[in-house]
């Protein structure tokens, strides 16, 4: 204790200096706003830095929770997205014409599923029975024939694509009015071509001639483009040559199609059924 007093009195100048200086600094910080804000700001900086570091750790620990909540929020947001809503507006063209009566109307549909590489290809569209689509209707697009409606649900319909072995479309050659049926498959699985059958041998078929719908079926209006003749091959011993047609429609890039509604279709069918029964 005595040594401590000796030490303090020996260096009393230094201790007095320390005391005075501390008093002065205290005064400065307490009474001068600039220095006070400086001190408090820097202390705030230190405290804030510590908090942010701790927060970083906490954030990492809560990652799973945050992920769950974000996923939930994503789900609710996705529900509100436009593409989650079924587009129910129906675009149906019908021209009011007093000279000739309307036979065909068209229903716009968007393709939601499509395939071209299967043996039997189907297309799904976002229109169904609620929009007036019935099985057996023809489907076209801006560049040509697409297929025939197969099954219909309330909001969707599946289509026999032209690239289906069961699809048969009545077609004719524009230049000579010869008609046959267009098929696909059976040894020809190129999605860009189809085969026109049942054209008699005596008809002169040239490469590049146009193939269109014939109008003998109720499915398609007459004269819709299908494609052009790519090549012909005469088979030995048969009366019909094989005519390969390059399709106008590129099935791999189809987006929108029109479903054809034949207003007289029912009448025609009933009549034909009756004729068959009678005959």
């Amino acid at each position: 204790m005595r040594n401590l007093w000796v030490f303090i009195s020996k260096y009393n100048a230094f201790f007095l200096f320390i005391i005075c200086f501390i008093i002065s600094i205290t005064l400065i910080i307490r009474n001068n706003s600039f220095q006070r804000s400086g001190v408090f700001n820097s202390s705030n900086e230190i405290v804030g830095e510590a908090y942010s570091r701790i927060n970083k750790v906490q954030r990492y620990l809560r990652l799973a929770e945050v992920n769950d909540s974000l996923a939930k929020e994503n789900a609710t947001l996705r529900k509100d997205l436009k593409m989650s809503h079924f587009d129910d507006s129906l675009v149906q063209q019908s021209v009011v014409d007093t000279i000739s009566r309307q036979q065909y109307t068209y229903i716009v549909a968007r393709i939601v599923n499509n395939s071209i590489h299967q043996k039997n290809n189907y297309i799904t569209i976002n229109r169904g029975s609620r929009h007036g689509i019935l099985p057996g209707m023809g489907v076209i697009c801006s560049s040509g024939v697409v297929g025939i409606v197969k099954d219909v649900s309330a909001d969707y319909a599946t289509i026999y694509s032209l690239l289906h072995s069961d699809t048969k479309i009545s077609a004719s050659i524009t230049e000579n009015q010869a008609f046959g049926s267009l098929v696909w498959g059976e040894g020809n699985s190129d999605p860009r071509t189809a085969v026109l059958q049942d054209i008699p041998n005596h008809i002169q078929v040239k490469i590049g001639q146009h193939v269109v719908t014939s109008g003998y079926s109720t499915l398609f209006p007459e004269g819709l483009p299908i494609g052009r003749i790519l090549r012909t091959k005469e088979k030995g011993g048969e009366s019909f040559p094989e005519i390969v047609v390059r399709l106008d429609t590129d099935f791999s890039t189809l987006q929108y199609v029109y479903v054809i509604k034949d207003l007289f279709g029912a009448e025609k069918e009933i009549l034909e059924k009756q004729s068959k029964k009678d005959g």
Binding site: N12, L16, F17, S24, L27, I28
Partner: protein, 171 residues
């Protein structure tokens, strides 16, 4: 003894008066602000005990602060000044040889010693003062410029005034 106290009181009042009412209004672009009031602390007698020295230094500093509205700034600088004064005198002056020389004055100590004494003490005081005022090292070039020019001005004033009073007294 009584005469020394009286002289110091007069000196204190005079220096504070000059500092507060004249020099407070003098400054060159805020770069050079003289503080010759420290002369009072510098000229206190050698015999003054440390506690009294610090007390007087704090009193001087706080008085100037009161006029400058900067509580504690000059007090802190004066505390540094007092400490440096004690160290400087301990290092350079042999106490025994100056028992009959009461004050560290130009006429008694000689020009060289007094000049170094003034420069060292002024620099310590001004560095403390200006750094505490800026409270940081954000604009170190500006701070150092102010320290340099203010010290130059203060040293000039102190030396000049010492020359004036020294001549008068001796004659």
């Amino acid at each position: 003894m009584g005469r020394t106290i009286l002289i110091n009181i007069v000196r204190f009042v005079l220096l504070i008066f000059i500092q507060a009412f004249l020099l407070k209004n003098i400054g060159f672009y805020n770069l050079s602000i003289p503080f010759p009031y420290i002369l009072f602390i510098m000229l206190l007698p050698f015999e003054v005990p440390n506690w009294l020295l610090f007390l007087l230094a704090m009193a001087t500093g706080l008085t100037v602060d009161a006029f400058y509205d900067t509580a504690g700034l000059n007090a802190a600088a004066c505390a540094v000044l007092a400490f440096v004064r004690i160290v400087f005198i301990n290092v350079t002056v042999e106490r025994q040889g100056f028992e009959n020389e009461p004050e560290p004055k130009l006429g008694i100590m000689g020009f060289r010693w007094f000049f170094i004494y003034t420069v060292v003490l002024t620099l310590f005081h001004h560095v403390t003062l200006i750094f505490l005022e800026a409270f940081g090292f954000f604009d170190i070039r500006d701070i150092l410029t102010r320290v340099f020019f203010s010290s130059l001005f203060t040293i000039f004033l102190i030396v000049i005034s010492e020359f004036i009073f020294f001549r008068k007294k001796e004659r």
